[in-house]
Symmetry: C2
Subunit: 244 residues, 2 copies
DNA sequence: CTTATATTTTAGTCTTGCCTAAACTGTAAA
DNA sequence: TTTACAGTTTAGGCAAGACTAAAATATAAG
């Protein structure tokens, strides 16, 4: 007696997890446009690939059911695509937190490493890591970490540029990819979890001057002030992580 | 005034790290044959790919300077190939150690996860991890971890099958890829770091009976006995890691 | 010395993911 | 309403890495 076992390995999508390329494209669309349509150009710029490559991938994402794509009109994520994006973002931010808290990385270096690792770890690994980290709510940059079920709280924070002199505020998030910017702010401990007092918000040139917990004053140019997001100290602290 | 910057990105080896495929092939050759030549068939079996794919990769490895390849005669690693293999093995074993000690994985599950992660982590990550782990000498299965400089101590251990009744020995290493085997031994705490007393080595069928630290006896069949490597309890303990 | 068999290689394809160059489209300004 | 141009798509290629089927080779057995 003999058997022939026929497995249909011809459908690469059904079971297999998306490749790292596919994942990065989906994540890029999510980061650029959320639920809206992301343009070919923007995705190309973010991923450092040619526009032609993006057009090609938009078509494939549609095949895979991860995005809807209309020629000349960009691609927007389907529910499945959003789910996949959030899964990667959760991994990415948990990994960043681990790198900073347990391996001694500085917060400007965690992103690059996480960008690769997010595609290599399993769901098992991710949840065990979350456990080990005590289920943090935010990553080192203050970005909220999506829950395991794909939930992500919407948040409306104001930037330092939108505050007024006299207010005491808590730094919640720093939104900037540049290592120089992160390094500058990190060295001065202007990081999530710290609170500062707003001394001056100068309309003329957008410079915001703040006084840190040690009484030291820092003058931040418009772009810097727009990258630092805060909340009133009165509101509850939403699990800030303290980078180096 | 303008400049045109010409980068020769046409040489993919010079700077770029080997792909995970290339890495796995190099590692397979090392694991199968060490410094000798590994056959097409053996590598194909270990990596679950066709022989034709292996022949193709052998040629590429030679192009890359990672292996020497002679038709019909298999491939052997060059110094560069050995270096690359050891680099991956170091990562793999450190990652396994981390998974077991810090994420609560069981020792039969660590291999699969490490097999993917070894290609995604940076040297930076690897050395920081080694630091965090306290520079362990062995992984959860008792395999020695290559040093950062590519050094790996040669070792000559005997298996349980080669011991004699009456000896008290320390389990140093368990050489078996099967999850069932690892699970069986793990549940009985017959793992690296534990010591046992050899009760009987039966020539007839190769069954070895040992008494563990709690006085419980275990009869191990020939294949199991050949998978468990030990050293005399009198010799120095070489940094054993204790799996679950 | 021949032959059978296991192993290996060759030949021909396929998919993924990237590229450049050329053609096309949508839209905002003239 | 035409036009210019930024943005997009198409066309054509390429490299990595896998596969199957067919041909070639080494070697062990007769
Ligand atoms: Mn990524
Ligand atoms: Mn982040
Ligand atoms: Mn691997
Ligand atoms: Mn191991």
């Amino acid at each position: 007696m003999s058997f022939i076992l026929l497995l249909d390995m011809s459908d690469p999508l059904a079971t297999l997890p998306p490749s790292s390329s596919v994942g990065d494209y989906v994540k890029a669309i999510w980061e650029i446009a959320g639920s809206e349509a992301a343009s070919t150009k923007d995705v190309a710029a973010r991923l450092s690939v040619s526009s032609a490559s993006v057009t090609n991938m938009f078509g494939r994402l549609q095949e895979m059911g991860l995005a809807e794509y209309e020629r000349y009109r960009g691609a927007s994520l389907t529910a499945a695509g959003r789910r996949e994006a959030l899964r990667l973002v959760r991994r990415h931010r948990l990994i960043e937190t681990f790198l900073l808290e347990h391996l001694g990385y500085s917060w400007q270096d965690v992103h690059e490493e996480a960008e690769r690792l997010e595609h290599a770890v399993s769901d098992e690994f991710t949840e065990r890591l979350a456990d080990m980290l005590g289920h943090p709510g935010r990553d080192p940059h203050g970005d909220p970490i999506p829950a395991a079920d794909g939930t992500l709280a919407v948040e409306s924070l104001k930037s330092l540029g939108e505050t007024e002199a006299g207010q005491r505020v808590l730094i919640v998030k720093v939104k900037d990819d540049s290592a120089q910017v992160l390094n500058y702010l990190g060295e001065r401990s202007l990081v999530p979890g710290r609170s500062v007092k707003v001394r001056e918000v100068r309309a003329l040139d957008g410079v915001v001057t703040v006084e840190d917990e040690g009484g030291v004053e820092h003058a931040l140019g418009e772009s810097l002030a727009r990258a630092v997001f805060v909340q009133s100290t009165l509101e509850g602290v939403q699990d800030p992580v303290a980078p180096a």
